[in-house]
């Protein structure tokens, strides 16, 4: 246990261990209800938007405009402007789709699964992790839609009574995707919004301008904090968490079925569902770190998003990283153990074929670097280190999707149909453009909505505990 590195009596111990309970503190001591509220409301309700925000917004906004340009040209010319062809018909669109959806998974894991496990440290980071989920799903959901070639017929995917009486075919995993991703997007938005309503009530009551009072007044639905409302609210939150947990596990499972149900060597394996889910959580936590580290510095949130959060997220990455490593190992083992010629060739081709560099990039970024260094607590609580690590892991996970999609497709059963793949500038523009769209949406969220759930942080404070005398008291 790395936490045992903190010895009792040391200044670190005094700072982090609550003397009353002997447990680790989640947030820095000496916070009050008011200080938390002031800190978070001031970020949004200030009339002075920081210059740095405008700088980032214009920078990432231009990338989002580039996405618009790339997609417009795509709609005018068709998917031929991308590098997709035979045999690689999936290319960047599906790589990015799987990568973005995976990133979203950490948000749901933090907000739902850690809530069910009563991991209180999640409270500080759950809101912006959920926001990250939603924006990642927005970027992800776009890709299959523009990849179908005729996106204006996208509604054919839904079972609706059209006059042409053509209905979807439910035995295809691609149709399952439609339901998995649309449900995931809807439930994530609902969970996020329900969680935000009480905080929007705080904004309504603290807003100075008439316009802000109206807007926050309407979107807070008239929340007044009645304790009866709170009880139902907590019940609904728990139920939503309980529903989001199997949902998040099912979404990447269904996406892995897109591959695993196919007969292509390298795709047709039973390890895909768990290995996809673990990889999703791995990259998602990396993205949470990529967002949290600059945010906490920029908005001075060190007291609420503490070193302990970084430490814990580092540990989760370590665990999921090892599951992913097991997945890679099992793929290699089964390629040999199955004694299946094509399966073995696919593995050999991945590692030593013409695109072997992508496989070794993924091994370096996902296994070699993180799984050797994340063991050290001192490094896990070092912000620069963790930021660089998060970028490395995200790169590695992108290459994992690349390896799965591209190297399997380039060389399947028949050597006469082998091919290669080289992405065009439109592929790159679309991918970088979604990074811009994602960050732009996130910047808007940080500017206009509560990025840290105030009501949940209030519950972490010692003064929120009901003293026993008051509970037992009968009018004393």
């Amino acid at each position: 246990m790395a936490t045992s590195e903190i010895r009792p009596g040391s200044p670190e111990y005094e700072r982090w261990v609550d003397p009353a309970t002997g447990e680790f503190r989640v947030i820095e001591p000496t916070q009050t209800f008011k200080s938390i509220t002031d800190k978070i409301t001031r970020i949004v309700l200030t009339p002075h938007t920081p210059l740095g925000w405008f700088f980032l917004f214009s920078m990432f906004g231009s990338l989002a405009v580039m996405l618009l340009a790339a997609v417009t040209w795509l709609f005018l010319k068709g998917v031929g402007i991308w590098a997709i062809s035979q045999p690689v018909a999936w290319g960047f669109a599906i790589i990015n789709f799987v990568w973005w959806i995976g990133i979203g998974h950490a948000g749901t894991l933090i907000s739902a699964i850690l809530l069910l496990f009563k991991q209180k440290w999640r409270n500080s980071i759950s809101r912006f992790a959920e926001a990250m989920t939603i924006f990642a799903v927005v970027c992800a959901g776009m890709f299959p839609l523009i990849h179908v070639g005729r996106p204006w017929l996208g509604y054919w995917l839904f079972p609706a009574p059209f006059t042409m009486t053509v209905w979807p075919q439910f035995r295809s995993p691609l149709e399952w995707d439609v339901f998995a991703v649309s449900t995931y997007a809807t439930i994530s938005v609902v969970f996020w919004y329900v969680g935000m309503v009480p905080d929007l009530g705080t904004f309504r009551d603290r807003a100075k301008t008439r316009f802000a009072q109206y807007v926050y007044g309407i979107i807070s639905l008239g929340w007044r904090g009645s304790v009866k409302h709170w009880v139902r609210y907590e019940t609904a939150s728990l139920l939503l968490a309980g529903l989001a947990t199997p949902l998040v596990l099912s979404v990447h499972t269904v996406i892995s079925f897109d591959f695993a149900v196919a007969v292509l060597p390298g795709w047709h394996t039973t390890i895909f569902p768990p290995y996809f889910v673990a990889g999703a959580i791995y990259s998602g936590f990396a993205m949470v770190l990529t967002l949290a580290i600059p945010l906490r510095k920029f908005y001075h949130l060190e007291a609420l998003v503490t070193e302990r959060h970084m430490d814990n997220m580092g540990k989760v990455m370590l665990v999921t990283g090892f599951i992913v490593g097991y997945g890679y190992g099992m793929e290699a083992f089964m390629a040999w153990y199955s004694a299946n010629h094509w399966e073995f060739f696919t593995f050999w081709n991945r590692a030593f074929g013409p695109m072997g560099w992508s496989y070794w990039t993924l091994i370096t970024c996902n296994l070699a670097i993180p799984l050797t260094t994340l063991w050290v607590r001192k490094w896990r609580t070092n912000m620069t280190f963790m930021f660089i690590m998060s970028i490395i892991v995200n790169t590695g996970m992108w290459f994992e999707r690349f390896v799965i999609v591209v190297t399997s497709l380039t060389r399947d059963y028949l050597p006469s149909s082998w091919g290669t793949y080289r992405a065009t500038k439109w592929d790159y523009m679309t991918f970088v453009g979604t990074l811009g769209l994602f960050t732009t949406l996130f910047l808007l969220f940080v500017r206009f909505l509560p990025m840290i759930p105030m009501n949940e942080i209030r519950m972490l404070l010692p003064q929120a505990k009901i003293k026993p005398k008051a509970v037992a008291g009968n009018g004393d």
Partner: protein, 182 residues
């Protein structure tokens, strides 16, 4: 609907959640029924103190019914579409492929259950309601969503008398007691 005018109730403000719970429990024991507490974060003890039984709350039941409806709706829809409305023969596989139908049906179970939980919670709470008399109290919006705890004895309670009730609330030593108008 009777005209809404006059006093809605008396609002006592507390600094500490323990004081609120104690006051709420005592008032309930003394026979008050039309009352409510307001807090900036969930204080379950206060809800129990004013007689709110969470085991009889209907949100979980509605969620269950919603989920079962989603499951049934999707499974039947899939079966109808793939066997009757638009049967396609794909490599001789059976039209009624129930294992394949499980996945969308599973997703719709979650979708309908989640939407039921959220909408039912808001509906039972009577939200959205942008106007509520407690917002008229001068100190309510300063504290109820930040760091103060409120107990409101409502005028509709048969025991309510403006002067007596004010005295009663002051017995709990709140920060203030204010009259709330409609």
């Amino acid at each position: 609907m009777p005209p809404r005018e006059g006093t809605y109730g008396l609002l006592a403000e507390f600094d500490d959640p323990g004081d609120l719970v104690r006051a709420a429990r005592q008032s309930y024991q003394d026979g008050w029924r039309r009352m409510d507490c307001y807090s900036p974060y969930p204080v379950e003890e206060a809800a129990e103190a004013i007689g709110f039984d969470r085991t009889r709350d209907r949100v979980p039941l509605v969620t269950l019914i919603g989920g079962l409806m989603g499951l049934t709706a999707m499974f039947l829809l899939e079966t109808w579409i793939n066997t009757l409305a638009y049967p396609i023969d794909i490599a001789g596989r059976p039209l009624y492929s129930w294992p394949a139908f499980v996945v969308p049906a599973y997703e719709w179970t979650i979708l309908w259950a989640g939407l039921s939980a959220a909408f039912c919670m808001f509906a039972l709470n009577g939200l959205p309601s942008l106007y509520h008399p407690v917002f008229n109290a001068p100190n309510f919006r300063n504290g109820a969503t930040v760091d103060k705890f409120f107990l409101c004895l409502e005028a509709l309670d048969p025991k309510f008398d403006l002067i007596e009730a004010r005295k009663y609330l002051e017995g709990f030593h709140p920060l203030s007691v204010v009259e709330v108008e409609y």
